[in-house]
Amino acid sequence: MTSIALITLSAPWMLAGIGLLTLPVVAHLMNRRSHRRVTFPTLDFLTAAAAAQSRLFRLRRLMLLLLRCMAACFIVLAFAGPLWVARGAPSVSEGRASGLVVIVDTSASAGRVEDGVSLMQSMRAAVSRTLASEAADLANVIEAGALPHAMHPVMTRSIETLRSDVATLEAGQGRADISAAIGLAGQMLASVNGERGVVIVSDMQATNWPDVQGLAASAAALPTGTRVKVVPVGESTTANVSVTVASITPSRPVVGASVRVVARVINQGALERRLPVTLEIDGRSHEEKALRLDGWQRGELVFDFVADRFGERAISVTVPDDVLTADNRGYGVVHTARHATVVVVSDEPAGVRGTASYFVERALSPRGEGGLAVRRVASSAVDGNVLRDASVAVVTGAGAMNRMSAERLYAFMQSGGGVVFFCDTAESAANAKLLDEVAQTPGGILPFTLTTRRQDAPTAATRIGDVDWSGTFLRGFDAVGRRQIGRLKFWRTWEAQGIRQGADPWMKFTDARPALARRAVGEGVCVMANFGVGQDDSDWARHGSFVVLMHGMIGQLERRWTGNDATVGTAVTIAVQGDGGQGLRVISPTDEDLREIVMRGAAGQQSVTIPATPSAGIYRAVLSDGTIAGMSAVNLDEREGDLRSVEPVALERAMTDAGAAAVEFMEASSGMGDHGLMLHGKPLWGWALVGAIGFFAAEMLIQWRWSR
């Protein structure tokens, strides 16, 4: 870079064009030494007329030559990229180097194609153009996907290499984490000691830029004085339809059970859409239904099928391709089990008659048979592997629960599992309090709060007083069963502080204390029983109505799979069926063998976690012999389907207002008026062109005036 006083030339090699000055000079000489020779009758009049011309008039050609030379000089100067450098600004001559980081939005929405033109193609061109025009000394490009990363580990001086690398940029399937990308850019620019700039090339998808505060916090982390420019690419469009698998119920059906898949279709445009929605099972079309959606309407379609065989089933719902194909397919997984699994969390000795866990296990699986598989686990040993294939967990006869167990139970409920919590031990209050604590939810997660344990005399047992027979668990009771419940005796119960907001009290004791209540926790349900079923707690286990109650609850609490908890970029865990082994591999939806996986659990309870899923689809855990040991589905974030964009100016204003004061936002524009970040100073090439045009205009004006 060459400096002329306070003017810096960003392309000094273009000064070689000064040779163009020879053109007007040669033209002048050729005109002056015109080879045209005219034999004229007499020169008397011409000589007299020529002699009468003024000296200025004879100097006209020299004046025109001067104007043409000046015009040529200014044109060459414009191509040399003159920049006006403010006094005191760092320059390369002082050992300072400017740095530029280009953040490219590679979210799923960048993969849209409109009228045959890929938005990603436009973004690649914009990035390449930016790198060329800014002409920074150091540069890097950050791909802002779900997990932003830089194309080069450090800032590079090889701009041309970087530009060629840009050609490999592709749209991902996650959401763009712009905040993280800006943070990464800040780390990159920290090593730059000259002017710093960040250019964000994005489709400005409105749903991708909602967190102004977060962006402002990230921008504030940029080095002071960093200039930020947002370059919008593509037009805001509202002609897209997205589909996801909203839920699969039950997620672990037994063979022969009916499975319900709910597909959620969102019309991300203003116009009414009529379109077919197809359910595919294991890649084969199973059923197609038509759907009509008004503008901006979301609708749900229900597909039913029978889980006819044991194992993993890949579910997908599709709509016809549109501008964004990535969101035209939603995924889910159905784990068809031979038996529904119920985990009994209890510290009581197994198989001891009269204990609560004994009665519960006998009610669920008499003589170890039936449609349910019961697994017993101690209250301190509850982990993800224990609950991974369970539909319901029943806590009864449990001692003091540790925090890990409480967290696992809470996570189990959050992901759609059902927990039946019998308050039948002295530690029940502490366990309930721990569950409320790990949830970190105001008001807790349990339906009511326990205070003190109450022991009634055998003759003064507490009885059920009020029952809401419309409750889903209690619909199965006939008149005999209902009468029987009225005669039940409860000797050990808990004083309670009343029903919490959001909880449904299905049964109350005669003194109005809650006896059985339900409360939704995340996608799952927690049912709390203010009694025990051991022989010292109540006599309910001795009656057949207890079996009805347990099966009613298990049937209604069966775990439901929801697609929202596994989106691209987040972690997903695959429960491995069988023994697993050393040869376990994870295959991505694009048939890539994923290396970054985390294996957990012992043989028989093994699971594998993918920390950051790169794309939407079905992830398969494959054993060394090719057997599929487990599958998990990952979907595109629904928000990626909304292709409406925000105005960069409004975003910049919001970020500035939010506190990104250290950042200087440049006006986003494109074309000839785009002055870039001015890392090396204020561009003067426009003025140089204006000067050249001015000289040409003056030359033409003089010619016109003199020709008259």
Binding site: S34, R36, P41, T42, L46, T47, A49, A50
Partner: protein, 323 residues
């Protein structure tokens, strides 16, 4: 365009033969003289002599020796005096053509040449003009002579009235090569020596020579009773300089050179040229000499036809008649 010569039997004779359209324009024209002329034979033109003709001139008293038949007996009966009737003598006319054959007459213009457009020099134009006059004069059975001015009187033909002589005139025009200075004043003086008295002198020249000597030479003819007519032959590009930018101009006669941009000097040049033309016109008209600008942009027939008709209408004494 087909050229038509004066002599139908010798169409290839010269390039300055009259064209059909020129002949059509000159068909009804007569070349007359405003002054009485002296000729060898009886003709159509007024003569200063008295003679036998139908035009009555005057009476005078009878003197011994007069033809008795000329006595007007009716006057004698009324006045008892003898008077004889005098009649005008009508003679044939001698027209002498002087054509400038200097190098400056070789100028053929400087405009870009266009396809299918004839590109004539000023000498061509002057020759066609002279040829047309010779043809008109010969057709009306008057005599025509020719002189070429190139460094003085380069060559000349005596005045005669016949078609063979007409062919000689054309041949002489064709064979001449314009070069050097004209020496028009000298040529006129030399031609005046054998010119006799009372005739018509027609000069076709660009007059790029000092004015005074030429005027003095013309005065010689005027003093001999000649009527003089000057056709000032100029090229269209000479009258209005075309826009050719800058060029090296070379004087055709002196070889002097001058580099000049036409746009720079055009206005001044035209002003000066116009002034000189007006001086020529003033000097010539004050001597009773007709001055006509003959631009190469105008056809010969148009120039000459317009002049001859104007001339006939202003003569007064002679009624134009068809040839």
């Amino acid at each position: 365009m087909k050229d038509v010569g004066v002599d139908d039997g010798n169409q290839n004779h010269g390039q300055y033969d009259l064209r059909v359209e020129d002949m059509a324009m000159l068909h009804g024209c007569r070349f007359t003289t405003r002054r009485p002329v002296l000729g060898h034979y009886t003709g159509r033109h007024a003569s200063p002599l008295r003679g036998q003709s139908v035009e009555f001139a005057d009476y005078r008293e009878y003197l011994p020796g007069d033809d008795v038949s000329a006595i007007d007996w009716k006057v004698y009966g009324r006045s008892d005096k003898l008077f004889v009737r005098l009649f005008e003598h009508q003679s044939d006319m001698t027209v002498r053509l002087m054509v400038d054959a200097s190098a400056s007459m070789q100028f053929a213009g400087i405009s870009p040449k266009q396809k299918n457009v004839e590109w004539a020099t000023k000498y061509d134009h002057a020759c066609r003009l002279a040829s047309a006059i010779a043809w008109v004069v010969t057709r009306q059975q008057d005599r025509v002579g020719l002189g070429l001015a190139s460094g003085g009187l380069a060559t000349s033909l005596p005045a005669r009235s016949s078609m063979p002589h007409m062919q000689q005139v054309l041949r002489m025009l064709k064979d001449a090569t314009p070069r050097g200075v004209a020496g028009l004043a000298s040529a006129l003086r030399d031609m005046a020596e054998g010119a006799g008295r009372r005739g018509v002198l027609v000069v076709c020249s660009d007059l790029h020579e000092p004015m005074e000597p030429i005027l003095e030479s013309l005065d010689l003819y005027l003093h001999r009773g000649y009527e003089a007519i000057v056709f000032h032959v100029l090229h269209a590009d000479e009258l209005s300089l075309p826009d050719i930018g800058e060029a090296l101009f070379v004087d055709s006669e002196t070889g002097a050179k001058l580099r000049v941009n036409i746009a720079d000097v055009r206005a001044d040049y035209e002003t000066r040229l116009t002034a000189v033309l007006e001086r020529w016109a003033s000097a010539l008209v004050s001597r009773g000499i007709d001055h006509n600008i003959a631009s190469t942009a105008e056809p010969i027939g148009k120039i000459l036809g317009r002049y001859l008709r104007a001339r006939e209408s202003s003569t007064g004494r002679f009624t134009p008649s068809r040839v």
